[in-house]
Symmetry: C2
Subunit: 274 residues, 2 copies
């Protein structure tokens, strides 16, 4: 049996997760749409897909704590990352022109994020709330006089043209996506490593965890604490730092962390996103 | 002119933000619906509302990084917190019975979170994706044979009865909401303090920030790092710890942090949520 080469991503089509998947694997990757983050993990764990893509930092498409929960429990590794600029565009069917637009559809959060722009440019347009920006793009492809607020990917899928670009009121946020796989990524010389650290919930616990990073001169790029769901007295730290798990300095770091924490789970070493 | 007593919250009606607002201020509070997190902040800053309520940790209702961005820029203080258990129920109009339900409406994320339960109990039901769980509850109140997946608050607003409770596939997540105000909350003896710390982005910076906490025996309950949007070389840490800014040990902490960081912004001291 030929192993699946599919890439599982958090749908519906047109999401920024899909954009991250295409950036990582190119147009040749055969995509598998999932409707929840734990489905993305399950697809890769069971071999239905070779890789998965899920948001790992702030995202409006899926609660990131779902990804964190899955990482705690799953045997999968992080094998790459993609950072996507979250930009909203006003999109309409080919042939439409700006003056004809009387209704604008999008997810409520996206409408809110473009509120000031909409007031300035389409003060009289009817705003139609949709379940997702992909659904809004679908509507815009069918209904003349209706435009959608959505990302570039949704526009491409539904053959829409941009009437206006980058219309969100604040500069676009960047969302980080994790690429998931069953096998570790090789060292490239420009890697980072993600780990989970379990430590007692008492003053100074985190300080003792950080001491080896300080002594070894290892640079942390992310640190997030989360109360453990199971043990009230325990904390979980999500940490990213520069280096690959095969680097000797990182091996020394793990040796030192071993005596200062309850447990360390290596989530993966992978190339830093450009 | 009488100052407004309104409570601004992240709508639409039926959100968990509304539930957090009612828990904090009781049924007497007059609520002001906002459609975006920065609207909640603006309403309190301009005096249109006396207090605001916005999600500060993982939430599907609004991107929490919006709240963090607002906290960085706003003069408002955190004056309280509410922790809400995110539970989904199957809700239908009075008089409906489980056997008649042929369609189930909700936000796509909520449908995904209840997927296994839906497959087991309503394998043939049509799933209808809505812009919000509040919109789904509204549909359920109008359309017989249609049930909504939503929180208890949405059910109360639209006079729906629960056909099944707590149907999400995984144990409910807790989401933390911040209560915002223009005036500092007094010490109660059981308080926590939230701060922002700006520090250089180099190995050991966080270690030096944490050292005074360790020496003074102050317990951190949350720590999250975020790259600064303005300065590539700078990091922002969101930190919560036990104690009130008027406690002498906390004053000593701030004195020591002053020499070790680029800046510290006190977001507020407030009673710990039960």
């Amino acid at each position: 049996m030929k192993a699946s080469r599919k890439i599982a991503y958090l749908g519906p089509p047109g999401t920024f997760s899909q954009e991250a998947a295409l950036r990582q694997f190119g147009e040749d990757g055969e995509l598998l749409e999932c409707r929840a983050i734990d489905e993305v993990f399950a697809a890769v764990e069971t071999g239905q897909a070779l890789h998965g893509v899920a948001p790992i930092e702030n995202s409006t498409e899926g609660a990131v704590n779902n990804t964190q929960d899955c990482l705690i429990d799953s045997p999968l590794l992080i094998t790459g990352e993609q950072v996507v600029l979250i930009e909203h565009h006003l999109l309409a069917a080919e042939g439409a022109n700006s003056g004809q637009i009387h209704a604008i559809a999008s997810h409520p959060q996206s409408l809110a994020q473009c509120r000031r722009w909409l007031l300035a440019h389409y003060p009289d347009a009817e705003l139609r709330e949709c379940a997702s920006n992909g659904q809004a793009a679908q509507l815009a492809a069918r209904e003349s006089g209706l435009a959608a607020i959505a990302g570039a990917m949704a526009g491409r899928i539904h053959n829409l043209k941009p009437l206006a670009g980058s219309i969100q009121d604040q500069a676009g946020n960047r969302t980080r996506f994790a690429v998931l796989g069953r096998e570790a990524a090789p060292a490239t010389g420009h890697d980072k490593t993600s780990i989970l650290v379990y430590a007692e919930n008492r003053p100074g616990a985190l300080f003792r965890v950080l001491e080896p990073f300080e002594r070894l001169g290892i640079s942390l790029s992310r640190l997030e604490s989360r109360p453990s769901r199971d043990e009230k007295w325990e904390y979980i730290f999500f940490m990213d730092f520069a280096g690959h798990r095969q680097d000797s300095v990182v091996k020394e770091l793990f040796r030192r962390l071993g005596t200062r924490t309850d447990a360390v789970k290596i989530l993966g070493s992978y190339p830093v996103s450009a």
